[in-house]
Symmetry: D2
Subunit: 490 residues, 4 copies
């Protein structure tokens, strides 16, 4: 049993992993590579030219098997990489171990420093995030690859406080906007400024750009840019069609029932499933339930999405209308307090409640825990029965966090290939054409979005039709694309 | 049997209609009103304030029962209207007759001049279009409501030729871009300039704007605007979500199988259906076939749409791959020569071929007719068997034109309500806020798009959820909408 | 305009038909033949051996284009045939005319006597039924091919009354079980006994068997047999898998939406459809609505079918639960009074009501008509708006009779091919193996049921797998079938 | 860590289980009870009258959480029970432990002897089966509850050999019909006869009947009966509609994708899935794949099932046609050698192969292992990559055994409730009406089948419609059922 030297970089801090874990992870990575044709195609196309040579990428995405393939694609294209997870629970330890060890192949010769394990504390989480940005020696990252924007946040906050010369004091419970987690960030930066009062300023100056793949992270970037505070250009990968309409919809269609099954083994067929929200995630969720023979009802605040749901054959209700009848309650909204404690008390006995949207505040877990006399029993990890004083109970998945990651293994590789191919292309775009991107938030050109799609067709046996010259002229497009106006909705 | 005086306006020209036709049409209009809640809601909301008082609208849309409800909504809001169809076959004579006669109600007291009948010649078609723009006396239209852009085209060409002082001579077969139909337009304008060399210039000057609802018409508007030749502002109604993602998808889902059934009575279940194109129309078509138990294969030129088709469970093929196996061939592309004569010769015996995309050039009808020895037999109107010399034959619907209009009655009322509510709202917007719209092409503000959706929810029993203040703040939106960023794809 | 001599057989009785009608019908028959591979395969297989030579078949099935192909298949196998429709509305006149004229081909050289037209009176209906049983000269039919059992009924009643020596007097309104139609039957037989008091006895003696294809007709046969009154053997074609699980389910899936569309043009997508009954017909109906994006709720009396509906994702309700919400109400039960006048009064404005089960008593049309102050308006043939005194109204299709036949053209050819291939095989079976079938009610041997299926696979591109010897032994079946135990449910 | 005394009954033989396992199992049993309304309803209905008092049941079904609810239902109705699993891998140890410990409730006061654990050897398996039949002291079982017929087989073979006075000598490899497993059975019986040469004869004499729930077990029973060798009456539970059309179809729809997901995490959407067989299991499998957006192709030997597949929209192929294209290969046939080693060599790289039909001989695992140069790598338990000499590989699930049990947790509780309610009702029927069942194989009366369905409706929110007197008379049925003729197929 050998400890992995990479983890010794910060002595005593990172958990020891064993080589058998890495071996298991390597098997899974190898199988995942087969399911990630976009990334493998990029290795084939760009491996020889090494467009990311010189790139030093600080990466923060759930440290899964699929992310391992992403990381090793980046290194295969010439980049140096350091990695953290963007969620305390989502690391697959065998994947992390395998990446640390490396495959001994040209693409992954010696391993990559990974600062992530399943079940970090929040404090450890932010220390890990710091580690991917603070490189050994007088070297700094020059690119960020982000999911949720935490790495980007740390750089911006660090630079801001260095400019001010001081880190604010911790917030106190009761303060407006108080957040325990924010205090942890302040702590990390306070220690940092003590050691080097210009560290983040130098890092920020060196970073050429960030590529970000979530709705939430993108939202933060637009806000920063509108406030004039964005320090480097950003590519909004989230709004590539091949990300938002694939990962969100088809990924959820797969991983929602997977999560429910592994957690509960409860039949969906014939049951009533309530889905809050009919955006891309909600569309995938509703389709998944329907595909299993469940009846699906949907709630929406947006009348356009509501009309889509109705026309797709789903009854559009308010939660109050069905709270006593539904068997499953799934949130997909990105909003808060979608399911309240009051709602949960009104549910029928043994109803299953889960979130697959974004933050755990979609379901009011705090409110649930505060019900007098309620008892929480762990059925198995990430599956809890909450028993009300009257004896009825509900089953809550993953403590209100993303159930597909908490109760299953997240989206399947093929879907992540589409998302991550956008990431790699965006990294190449920003790193190699830095002068074409002044500070701002950009979407990938449509032709690159189409390229991502193109790289995934063969694996599905799909044969694309090619426009002849006359047809392309008739349509007024290039036969190689792009094919649609910017406002086209797919 | 009384002839309708309105048709006598241009003596001897318009076909005589009888009152029993109008009675039948009125029944259908009354039933359609029930299915067009958006339009009826606008009557209720805006009837009292008469926002279109003073509007003189030249309207050109298929003269169907649904359009009758549109026309009478415009008049109920105060407008004066003259109407033509935008297609030589699509008029439902009983609807036209009923609109001409009027309902004797406040909304439709005395009837509206309609210049349309089923089965116009192309020459008659352009004369009808002229009639909606040339009003009696010294009165001119000040708004255009268009579908395909023919009314808009006539005004622009008329004004252009008046500026030049001359109408070009007719093109000759063999000239580049020669079109028999364009010669007919030139003829109309030549006669017009002879009578009044400033007529179109005055019309153009008076028109405050056009609202246009097709992809093709919108494409023309953008081209005109880019060339600096657009004479008045335009609202692109086509790209409202509640138009393009509803009419195109859900309307086709309904009217495609309807057209095929009425034409052929051939079972779809268990058969192989080839759908060319997986845009909104193709998506609706594929879903319709699947809903009937057919196997569906799809062709695409756009890799993103191709990947969507694959992920939705449809095999993506080239036409050549399945030309000998498929039972149905449906085009939805908006492109030309999608099905060639060569393709048709390779199809299996009794294959059914139809177009539901746009122009009849999606299928090479001319090439089919030119095959030596081919024989065309009319099975019934709009259904023809084309027998190849070897005895095999194929069935072509509506001579390659839109089969849902040619073989059935087009989209159902509810779907058209969504499209037409956009039209009416756009007319109000342009007419009442003329100063806010400099010459250019606009889409409706998202909040109005949402309003259209909102007006159709009750009829489907859909109950919208309302954001509370905290939730709206959390999302950074107004609780009344709009809810999504502009680039959101639904 | 030439009258058809065949119709002159009973001078002045049958409507004159013109040859252009026959020409149109022949086109449709030719196209239908392509969609009826089972029948065409039987022509190819049995044409040379003429197994029905000597058979004189009295046939009673809806006189449609598909039945024309059936009739001409029977004659192609050597039979002599006379035909009536089994429903006063279901004849397609052009099909009848074409059969009467014949095709001038070996299969249909000179035409077949057909006693049927669209819109018979009930009196004419029973006279037509008599005509197929009473052949010219001293010739009598020796086989019956029946749908609903009316031909069989007439023979049994005729023989019974001849045995008794008298036809009972007509029932009077108010008598228990009084039926106006039964009086018409008594009238036909009374006239017959006056002319020849042993006619039906001789006919009954000569008939070797009947093949019957409906649930209702089969039910009558089992009752006759249990009562010891059945006069000749019967094959229950209805319960062949390739009949009941195909015609009923897949035929309805096609023809239900077709009928609704042609009748109303009302969107199904997003609407709420109530389907009474979840047998094979109900299963097909529910699938059709779902395929169009409607929400479907189902009522059932049988808990097993109810559980199937629930597991297939349909809410199982009582009609009362949704009577005020549903947009469509469709009966498929074979039961009476499923939708009462009281139900209809409680429906929402403009609800669409139709029956696709069997008799028109599924919907209480008499009760509807008896509501004081109700007004019935014909929107178009077979589509009526019934306006209640309060101004609300409902739309009733085909006056409560089978809407797929009344508002559209019934099941498509391919489905009918499966049913009719069973009929022909059953006719051959009974006619050529008469000694193997003592009086009784039989189902076709499973291997013949499988044969019917087999004959329809090629047309759908289906390739059957063949058991090798080891596998067949392992399963304990013959590699040529039959493959399943008798109680297998498919 | 306390050992469970029950397991000490046969000292040293059964693995020690700890109480924490039993606690976890009890949680799961409690949740499963909520999903098994049929069994809970039987407890409520029959608990007071104790119809199984005096029954001594030898039970052999996969020892899962659901089976625990079954066992405790039997004891709640008065039975004494001993239990074994019918599969070496399918025991859920926590469920077994909980049953052994008991719940301390009236239904399950002190626990039940269970002879089963996950991962038995075949030899242990047959010893466990012996244990449920050989009770301590001079007590013998009087009922068998069987799944696959192994318990029944042992009794019949034991009695046969005792009659012969000798157990045959072991077969040798190369003998016709040689089976290593059969030698193990001979070994068990040889030891038994040595100890007591009339043991099985006495057991057989005392057994009043067996209820059997699998196709295979039922097949054996019919064979025994035809051979005149059946020793006691049997109820064929498998062919209750609420078993074969529920468990097989809806259970598989749930547990097939569950098994694939847990095993591979590979996306199904957009992929090509080959399903061998379109019986009830195949129907459920195909629907599951389609519901996830996969394309599905089906192979069949039975032309009727093949036609059903085609009409349901699945392409019917031979395995050879798609062996190089499909991504998933699933067998559902009950036949042998459906996928051969040759097939597997022709599959595309990383294809996933699994069986959900019955025995592991559907896939030729032995042939696969015998390919020269092939390498088998365990990715994780029950998931193996088989690498061919050319470097390509395939993934085989559960070593060719039932993947839903091997890779997931089998059918969900609700579905098993339907099957097991049939079992309990059949036990009551045979035990309490022993005189009505001479030796033979019976199906449950339809009215009891309907009762099983009825007990599961409430939990799905389904409301049954009740026939009124007039309607019941019109249909000729009792308003309480049964509703359908015996040959009705549902």
């Amino acid at each position: 049993m050998t400890t992995l030297s990479t983890f010794d970089e910060v002595p005593g801090r990172y958990k020891v992993r064993d080589l058998s874990l890495a071996t298991a992870g390597r098997h899974q990575i190898r199988l995942a590579e087969h399911e990630m044709p976009g990334l493998m195609a990029l290795r084939a196309e760009y491996g020889p030219s090494q467009p990311l040579a010189g790139a030093r990428i600080a990466g923060s995405i759930h440290m899964t098997v699929q992310t391992a393939v992403l990381i090793e694609t980046l290194t295969a294209l010439g980049a140096e990489v350091r990695w953290a997870s963007c969620n305390i629970f989502s690391t697959q330890d065998e994947a992390a171990a395998a990446v640390v060890v490396g495959a001994g192949t040209p693409e992954a010769p010696t391993g990559v420093p990974v600062f992530a394990w399943k079940g970090e504390s929040l404090e450890e989480y932010w220390e890990c995030t710091e580690q991917i940005l603070v490189w050994p020696g007088d070297v700094r990252p020059n690119m960020i690859l982000d999911d949720g924007g935490d790495a980007t946040l740390l750089v911006h906050k660090g630079a801001e406080f260095e400019r001010l010369g001081v880190v604010p004091t911790d917030g106190q419970p009761g303060d407006r906007g108080y957040s325990e987690e924010y205090n942890l960030i302040l702590g990390v930066l306070r220690r940092s400024l003590e050691g080097d009062p210009q560290r983040w300023t130098r890092i920020a100056a060196e970073i050429q750009g960030v590529t970000e793949e979530t709705t939430t992270g993108v939202h933060r970037l637009y806000q920063l840019h509108e406030a004039g505070e964005l320090l480097f250009p950003a590519i909004n990968v989230n709004d590539s069609v091949t990300k938002s309409k694939f990962d969100n919809k088809y990924g959820i269609r797969h991983s929602l029932p997977d999560g429910i099954n592994r957690a509960t083994d409860v039949l969906m067929g014939g049951k009533l499933a309530f889905v809050a929200g009919y955006g891309d995630v909600g569309k995938g969720a509703a389709e998944a339930f329907r595909g299993q023979g469940a009846r699906v009802v949907v709630s929406e605040v947006d009348p356009i999405c509501a009309l889509q749901a109705a026309m797709d054959g789903y009854q559009v209700v308010r939660l109050e209308d069905v709270v006593g009848q539904a068997d499953f309650f799934i949130t997909t909204t990105g909003n808060r307090d979608v399911i309240t404690a009051e709602h949960m008390q009104a549910m029928k006995n043994k109803a299953v409640v889960g979130n697959i949207g974004h933050f755990d505040n979609e379901i009011d877990m705090a409110g649930l825990a505060a019900i007098p006399g309620i008892v929480r029993t762990e059925i198995k990890p990430q599956v809890h029965e909450w028993v009300f004083p009257d004896g009825r109970s509900i089953i809550v998945l993953s403590e209100g966090r993303l159930l597909n990651l908490g109760n299953a293994t997240g989206h399947p590789s093929f879907v992540m290939s589409s998302s991550f191919t956008n990431q790699v292309i965006a990294q190449i775009e920003l790193f190699t054409k830095r002068e074409e991107y002044p500070v701002g938030v950009y979407r990938l050109p449509k032709v690159l979005d189409e390229k991502v799609a193109r790289l995934h067709l063969d694996a599905l046996g799909a044969r694309l039709t090619v426009l002849d010259k006359t047809q392309a002229e008739y349509l007024g497009v290039d036969a190689a694309g792009p094919f649609k106006p910017e406002h086209y909705r797919y």
